[in-house]
Assembly symmetry: C2
Homo-oligomer: 74 residues x 2
């Protein structure tokens, strides 16, 4: 299992954070997601055989948020 | 093809609306989605053989929004 934490720009409220979480949970291979509005982060635990960081980043950015940094541990 | 418009409570900003749209677009059978922050509505065009209203409503409500009404035309 892999873990990544993305720093995200563009979240305006807690509802944004909860909706990004729901969006990431629909991605195959994602095991758990924790999204925080302040600071703007998404910590994702995923199976690297079924998901990858590029696709997760793309899913976050589709509604207009920006992933500006990443780390493998929180 | 079916069309439904949901009235939604709990959207706080335009980013919420864009993220709900992305969330609905991941649902199988959904052909097009238009979500408006003000008024709070989601108009969804979907294939009734692959999607249904109950599942669409559930997807909107998972992050904490509430579907308070529906109409078959906008």
């Amino acid at each position: 299992m892999n873990q990544v934490t993305f720093n995200i720009e563009g979240m305006h409220c807690e509802a944004c954070a909860r909706t990004i979480r729901a969006l990431l949970e629909t991605e195959p291979g994602v095991k758990s997601v924790d999204v925080s509005f302040d600071p703007g982060t998404a910590r994702i635990l995923f199976d690297p055989n079924a998901a990858n960081e590029a696709r997760l980043k793309s899913r976050i950015e589709k509604p207009g948020y920006r992933v500006v940094d990443r780390a493998e541990r929180p």
